[in-house]
């Protein structure tokens, strides 16, 4: 945003998405409002969605009249008076709190943002998501207006095809081609669905876009509806995202007021409307046929394809489904041109992709990078490397359908085909970084317990097969693994992949297959040596106290449920491994981190 709007000396913008609120942004908001009301500061207060700087939440950005800005992180209600006094009152930047300043964008943690290229997140953290006027003020709805008043539906599809964008929900199917099928499919009534059922654990970009820039999703849907000939739009959003649901409702209402949704939108004879459907919690509903069943009020179970939704989808009518991130990129493509989008990225994967950096990475948050960046660039240049100075071990990509890549694959380019060849998938874009304290067998067990739990039960390979795989993984983690378990896992994985009805089952074995491919030694260590080198699996570890660092504070003694820890006050303590049940309660209590699990 240039300048600060309506004549005030400064504009103070608070990041107000779920991450920010979870970190305490509501208290900061109250403190800011109170201070500005009482203190007579010459500022305009505003909120914005998530800037993606989750590691520094709550985040406040202060703009001056010239358009320069300073982003402050870790702001608390207590810091607000000082922040306003020094920055707004005296014009002095509080260096210690700075995350990024526009004068020297790469300094501090600024390179987190500078190393990104933001297309989908172009407005996130910059505009108030609850104000359509702010979106219009930066050129919003120009793309839709341009398309509806001066382009044919075919021209819109051609532009999207020219951009080369592939569906960002996970499967990576070319969006332009998909729209073409839906356009050509005969029928008066067609449906357009936005898949906002972000169920992959570890992915939160759709939430951030819906919370931070709901209008770009609306505009993308208006364009898609026009292109394929659908007058009915639906957003299927998880109930776990209350703030996103609230902001979508506001956005839809504002669109009606402006004449962007409803009858004869943008003054044309085209009509299009959008309704929100709240999901009820089922991972399988990310699969399109299961999602449609759930919209129809049934149990969310997939059905075989064909018929494909483009021919027979919701209520038996032609239906086109795209993901939030895909829709959010569409207005940019129409406004800037497909060619400009296609100029970003690799030969077969165009444009940018948003990744959610989480786990043991130093800077957690949203990272949007051009396709073709290497994993190393994303994790180290953007993410700032591993937290706590520990060693990188693996990156888990693509959630329960994805895989874990080791250090040797860090130079793989982020590109649908290259990531798949390496053994993972781009999927929806979750990137969970693991360090040497993460056990890969346990991680595989975790994902299988997830898919097993979420399997809808319709087809046997997925329902029973994932259960059998999980049982094997559980016994390996408990130190009861058998020599033939690795072969059994591989055989089961092949059968489940080949015979499952939908992608949930078809990809469920992936976390096991990639960990077997890259971390087979850990499985063998568990099975043959009864050891968990990461110190994670309770049945295979011993806990001991480092006498060098133990201060003898006794915190561990108090929490030990079996009285296994003894020692004199202010003297190093000892754990009796006969009595220890390895619950790790002491480990989390120890203030000097002296308890070692190995």
């Amino acid at each position: 945003m240039s300048g600060n709007g309506n004549g005030h000396k400064y504009k103070v913008v608070l990041g107000y998405g779920t991450c920010g609120i979870a970190a305490g942004a509501t208290a900061v908001k109250d403190a800011l409002e109170e201070a500005v009301e009482g203190g007579g500061y010459d500022v305009d207060l505003d909120i914005a969605g998530c800037m993606g700087l989750c590691f520094k939440e709550p985040v406040v950005e202060i703009f001056d009249r010239e358009g320069g800005s300073v982003i402050y992180g870790d702001i608390t209600a207590k810091k607000v008076p000082q922040l306003l006094d020094e920055h707004v009152g005296k014009g002095q930047v509080i260096e210690d709190w700075v995350v990024k300043r526009s004068e020297d964008p790469n300094a501090c943690e600024g390179d987190f943002l500078e190393n990104q290229l933001r297309v989908v997140l172009r407005n996130c953290g910059k505009i108030n998501p609850e104000s359509i006027d702010e979106y219009i003020g930066i050129g919003g709805y120009e793309g839709a207006k341009k398309a509806l008043t001066s382009m044919t539906p075919e021209e819109v599809i051609d532009e999207v095809s020219a951009s080369g964008i592939r569906g960002r929900g996970g499967a990576g199917f070319p969006t332009g081609t998909k729209w073409g099928f839906a356009r050509k499919s005969p029928g008066d009534v067609k449906y357009l669905i936005c898949n906002a059922d972000e169920g992959d654990p570890g992915a939160f970009m759709d939430r951030s876009v819906l919370e931070g820039d709901p209008h770009s999703v609306m505009e993308g849907m208006i364009l898609a509806g026009f292109a394929i000939g659908a007058r009915h739009g639906l957003i299927y959003c998880r109930a776990e995202y209350p703030l996103a649901l609230k902001r979508l409702d506001i956005a839809i209402e504002e669109c009606h007021e402006k004449g962007f949704l409803g009858e004869n939108i943008f003054g044309t004879d085209w009509s299009f409307d959008v309704k929100v459907k709240k999901g009820a919690g089922a991972f399988v509903c990310g699969e399109e046929t299961a999602m449609m069943a759930s919209i129809e009020g049934q149990r969310g179970m997939p059905r075989p394809r064909p018929p494909f939704p483009a021919n027979s989808g919701l209520w038996g009518k032609p239906t086109n489904i795209n993901n939030v991130e895909t829709f959010a990129a569409i207005p940019w493509i129409i406004y800037e041109g497909g060619e400009k989008y296609a100029a970003i990225g690799t030969e077969k994967s165009k444009g940018t992709k948003v990744f959610c950096l989480a786990g043991k990475v130093r800077r957690t948050g949203l990272a949007e990078v051009p396709m073709g960046y290497t994993l190393r660039q994303v994790i180290f240049d953007v993410g700032g490397g591993i937290a706590g100075g520990k060693e990188f071990k693996a990156v888990q990509m693509g959630g329960p359908s994805g895989g874990c890549l080791p250090e040797s694959k860090l130079d793989t380019q982020v590109d649908y085909d290259q990531i798949t060849a390496a053994g993972a998938i781009i999927g929806s874009g979750g990137m969970i970084v693991a360090d040497n304290r993460t056990c890969m067998v346990d991680l595989a067990r975790y994902f299988l317990s997830f898919t097993q739990d979420e399997s809808c039960g319709k087809c046997t390979p997925c329902r029973i097969g994932t259960k059998r795989m999980l049982e094997i993984l559980e016994r390996i983690c408990e130190g009861k693994g058998e020599p033939e378990d690795i072969d059994k896992l591989q055989n089961l994985a092949a059968d489940i992949s080949a015979a499952s009805l939908c992608a949930l089952g078809g990809t469920a074995p992936n976390p096991v297959l990639t960990t077997l491919r890259y971390f087979k030694d850990e499985y063998e260590d568990h099975i043959f040596n009864h050891k968990c080198a990461a110190g994670s699996c309770p049945a295979l570890i011993t806990l001991r106290i480092d006498p060098e660092t133990c201060t003898g504070c006794g915190a561990c003694v108090k929490v030990c449920p079996t009285d296994a820890i003894t020692g004199e006050k202010k003297e190093p303590h000892l754990i009796d491994s006969e009595l220890c049940i390895r619950c790790k309660m002491c480990l989390s209590r120890c203030p000097s981190e002296s308890i070692i699990s190995e």
Partner: protein, 175 residues
């Protein structure tokens, strides 16, 4: 922001069919409205009692098996009442890697209940949920309407204390 008060009698009694009347008149015979119907019923009663499901099935024209089938398929629906505060400990990947198991263990120890159970004083119900989408602040849990991030087992006691006092419910605001 919250209109709803978080005190223990925030839910309607299952003998009061007023909310059912409202829900039926809102959705009538709308095609495919079974899920929103059940969602609103759960909002009103706190859970889906058999009596309420029977009532909804009959009035909206569904087979009871259909209603029960949907209610047991989706994780959002509960068939048992919950305490005053629902504690949802996130077990998404980032939270798992960051030690969500220890968080659940600690909450469980503090409250003396296992997952899915409610404390005898009807104050807390403990649940595990899949990703809540605030992975960057892992591990996280939600108590009532409040999200708490970057948790450590050592900090759980203090957080629970905020909700334990009799006044917290009466004030209904703990943001």
């Amino acid at each position: 922001m919250e209109k709803e008060c978080t005190c223990s009698n925030r839910f309607a009694d299952v003998d009061d069919l007023g909310p059912v009347d409202e829900i039926i008149s809102k959705y009538g015979s709308e095609k495919g409205a079974l899920i929103p119907l059940l969602q609103e019923a759960q909002d009103a009663y706190g859970y889906l009692d058999e009596k309420i499901m029977r009532e909804l099935a009959q009035r909206a024209g569904y087979q009871l098996s259909q209603v029960f089938g949907v209610a047991t398929f989706f994780s959002q629906f509960r068939l048992n009442p919950i305490g005053e505060y629902l504690i949802k400990v996130c077990h998404g990947t980032a939270c798992h890697v960051a030690g969500a198991t220890q968080i659940t263990d600690e909450v469980s120890n503090q409250l003396g209940v296992k997952e899915g159970e409610t404390t005898p004083d009807n104050k807390f119900t403990l649940e595990s949920v899949m990703c809540l989408g605030a992975c960057a602040l892992a591990p996280i849990m939600v108590v009532g309407d409040d999200t708490h991030g970057k948790l450590k087992p050592t900090g759980i006691k203090k957080i629970l204390k905020q909700y334990a006092g009799p006044t917290a419910a009466a004030e209904g605001d703990d943001a």
